[in-house]
Each structure stands twice: as structure tokens, then as C-alpha cells.
Homo-oligomer: 146 residues x 2
DNA sequence: CGAGTCACTTGCAAAATGATAGTAACGTCG
DNA sequence: CGACGTTACTATCATTTTGCAAGTGACTCG
């Protein structure tokens, strides 16, 4: 869907989706958030074909969500690490995961726990100002430049 | 990417993405959340080809995010309305939008405002238990079943 | 009757995806 | 020192998906 209409349009959702709006990219970011850094780790963990992985990683690097770093010269070894921009996207993935846990039943489900309290996290999207869950709020769209 | 590996796998993110893990589906849901219900409204608003729209709508209906309702018999007119499952996904889209507003600059940006307070909303993903933003927390993955 | 709206379907070209195989640079074991 | 393994890819090619344009059928409005 990657066209210029959305990448420069007024809707921030559209702009975001031109960068990360495909499943592989999000899965790569998820694994990167869990500590995966190397090409073959991503490949094995996701079961993704190497040519596709190459392209997705390159796109994520180009868009500034990952950084490719040479961490060993001899032999040449690269790692892909999240940039601040990429790290900021992880809460969104956890929100997607929370939705998936609620609405897509499956035999077994992995969970995330807070390492401080050892309790499972339950991601909710709220409004920072009012502190209320967005699901309970009534919202209105305001177009730009008016 | 739609394969059985993820739709039945342990990761709720993967399961969710088999349903909504493409940009068009999310854009359709976004518009549905803003009140769009009819085929040609979606088509015109998104600039999507009609055959693609047909398939995406059918997939979203099949997966239970939208419901197709005949609201007029003569002439036959259908509308697509969000199910509870689909409505629960909207906060995630707003979180994606918040990320997009922060990280993808553009000349002009539309915003959402709270109709109660008339102030712009600022979506953040927090942990329901601790109330803390997930971005500040340190998390650990726990695999299922042992 | 003719034009227009709505919700699509059909046909076909172009692009993306995915499986498999190959490559290049290096390290390690015997 | 030479075979084999590891890492990080590229190349090739079949399959799948996407997207544009045009057409269709049911119906309404003037």
C-alpha cells in the first residue's frame, strides 16, 4: 500500500503505516524488542525467507526504526538494534498483543511480566491528560490547517 | 504473511497480525471508527481499488471485526459496522497515530480531540495494574505451558 | 426512457512474496 | 592445510497479491 498519498498525508495513522504497516516489519520489531539482534536469529525465530528479511530490515533501517551496526570487523558481523524511534513503537506492539490475547483464542499464550513486580502486564491505551482509557472516550477528528 | 504458524502460535502479537496485519485493513478500521460505513465511502476516502476493498472487507467480516448489514432491501444497500472486537482495536490505531505524529513529521496533521473537554487526546500505553507507561517498564517474556 | 448511484465483479499487467540454492568471508577442528 | 560450519547475505524463479480500468446488475430519480 506504500504510496505517497499516505506518507505525506495529514493522518498520522497513515503516515505510521507507510513505515511499519506490514506484519513482517512488526514481527521483526517485536523480536528486536525481545533482544534479537542478528540476521539469522530473526530468520530462524520468524521462519522468514532471507530475501524478505533483508528487504524488511533494510526498510526499517532506512526509516530509522533500526540501526545496523558492525560489531565485529573480523569476521564481519552486523547487528540490528532498535533506535529510540523503534523502541517507542514497542508499547504499540504490546497493545496489539493485548488485543490479540483478548480476541484471538489459542491453546497456549505467552505473556509479558513486569520484572519489578513479577506480575503480568495488562496494556491499556489511555489519554495522558485525563488518564481515561480511550475506549471509553468519545472523540472527534479535527482536520489540520483550519 | 498469513500462515498457520502465527495464527495458532503462542504469541498474541502474531495472532493479532494474521487478522489485521496489513495497512489497508488498519486504514479501513480507522475510517470505520470515524463513522464510515459504506463501500463507496471507504473506496473514495482511502483511494483503494474496489476489488482490494472487497477482499479486505470480506476478511475483516470473516474475522469478526466488522459486520455486514443489509440496511435497505430496495435497493439492496449494505453497511459495514464495527463489532465489539473491531471497536476494541481502535485504541491501538490511536496509539499508532500518536507514534506517527511524534516520529513522522509532515506539513499538516489532523488530531483527535476529546469531545468532553475539547482538548486534544494524547494516547499512551500503560499497564493497567501499575498505571505506569509501558515504555518505562522493564518486561520479560514468559512462554506458555510450563 | 435515460442518466446516475451503489456495490460490487472480471480481466489483466505489475509488483511483492516465498522457497530454494548459491556465494563470500571468515573461523575451527583434525 | 583442507574440509566443514557459521554468518549474512544475493540470485533465480514460481506463486501470490495488488492495483487499475472497465463492466455489470439492481435500483432510483427526473
Amino acid at each position: 500500500m506504500d504510496n505517497e498519498k499516505f506518507s505525506q498525508g495529514p493522518c498520522p495513522v497513515g503516515r505510521a503505516l507507510t513505515l511499519v504497516g506490514d506484519a513482517w516489519s512488526m514481527m521483526i520489531l517485536r523480536d528486536a524488542g525481545l533482544g534479537t539482534t542478528r540476521f539469522d536469529q530473526f530468520r530462524a525465530g520468524l521462519g522468514i525467507a532471507p530475501n524478505i528479511l533483508t528487504r524488511r530490515l533494510a526498510a526499517l533501517v532506512e526509516h530509522g526504526l533500526l540501526e545496523k551496526r558492525r560489531y565485529c570487523e573480523q569476521p564481519p558481523r552486523d547487528e540490528y538494534v532498535l533506535t529510540p524511534k523503534g523502541r517507542d513503537f514497542l508499547p504499540v506492539l504490546l497493545a496489539i498483543g493485548a488485543w490479540g490475547r483478548q480476541h484471538c483464542e489459542a491453546p497456549a499464550t505467552s505473556t509479558m511480566i513486569d520484572t519489578d513486580t513479577q506480575k503480568p502486564v495488562d496494556p491499556v491505551v489511555i489519554d495522558r491528560l485525563s488518564g481515561r482509557p480511550l475506549a471509553e472516550m468519545s472523540l472527534k477528528l479535527v482536520p489540520p490547517a483550519g
